[in-house]
Symmetry: C2
Subunit: 206 residues, 2 copies
């Protein structure tokens, strides 16, 4: 009998002052005032401009068997789904797995190319996690963000592992991981410095 | 002619959510609600319980040729110096160098054993830095904290290097490095993971 179950992993790129996005997020600037082009260029250059150096961490992010994200991370459309918005990631999203999008507005599942299907969950974070776990089987569930969604899962004690990718800029304002999360004890599992990012993995103990 | 001048270095131990002390700091609990005994035990165990593993970083902190700290870090005495308070560190403090304490209340210099002398600076952070640089000669000036003092120097653009020692707990509230500091570009110079702390050094570029 195989009783192994996967972990619930958070993956988030943050600034040295803990922000995952700046103020004034819009469709044109999904990361708001992010110290760059508003598309998170300075936040994510470790992934896009230094992919080889950070291959292990990128592969780990892409290895999730199911993904959870907030509606703000999925896209800028608010309220009813009155536009055919299928995410920021084009026809063949990088997830290649079921993605559970937290929303207040019901919508039919949206299959995409390459194995990604967007499922829309209207009954809260615990339901989304239950569905994601069922879809992931023995694999890991990755809570991809944004920070508001991550903080809800952290506050509810539902996260096993927190993988932060800390980039050398500060924003001074915006959306921050850990905001509103009560004190937690962590265990530093691994940490690795690449040239433009610091990868750290914490186990959430209590 | 030797034109070399030392650097202005910040050294600060912070939680994974960026706090250097919790709420409700008092004389009995100088670090407030710090997730431990109020004396920062959980914040500073990397220094005191794992000294050998972190010898290089402790030595580096102690190598400063002059130190700057805020009055709240120096002690709990407020207003006029109506008590003979000579810091938290006993008769032979670990600095072995001149220490410039930011305060609004004048006081004569206080020599201690082992080469430490406390100087009290009433005319602001730039004056304290000028005096510390003069005292340090070619050596480095260390801004020891707390976060409120560090943030003033960061906001004024007076810091060359930021050495953060990130410990695996979160506090959820308190005094935080970077609060009120405008966006900064940093360069990640070095990073090293010990078993219970992550040491990262940033150069402050702009």
């Amino acid at each position: 009998m195989n009783t192994r179950t996967g972990k619930v992993i958070v993956n988030q790129t943050i600034t040295a002052d803990g922000y995952s996005a700046g103020l004034d997020q819009t469709e044109e600037h999904p990361f708001g005032d992010d110290g760059g082009d508003g598309w998170g260029s300075s936040l994510h250059s470790w992934m896009f401009d230094a992919g080889e150096e950070n291959r292990a961490e990128v592969d780990q992010i892409n290895a999730a068997s199911a993904v959870i994200m907030g509606r703000n991370m999925f896209g800028p459309v608010r309220g009813e789904w009155d536009r055919q918005w299928n995410g920021w990631w084009g026809d063949n999203p990088p997830f290649h797995a079921p993605v559970f999008v937290l929303t207040n507005h019901a919508r039919e599942p949206q299959p995409m190319e390459g194995g990604t299907t967007y499922h829309f969950v209207t009954d809260g974070i615990e339901s989304a996690l239950k569905q994601a776990r069922a879809a992931a089987g023995d694999g890991d569930v990755s809570i991809h963000g944004g920070a508001t969604t991550i903080n809800q899962y952290l506050a509810a004690g539902l996260v096993d592992e927190l993988r932060l990718h800390i980039v050398p800029i500060t924003l001074g304002a915006g959306v921050r991981v850990f905001d509103g999360v009560p004190p937690r004890k962590l265990e530093q599992v691994t940490a690795r410095a690449a040239s433009t990012v610091l990868h750290v993995t914490y186990r959430v103990l209590a």
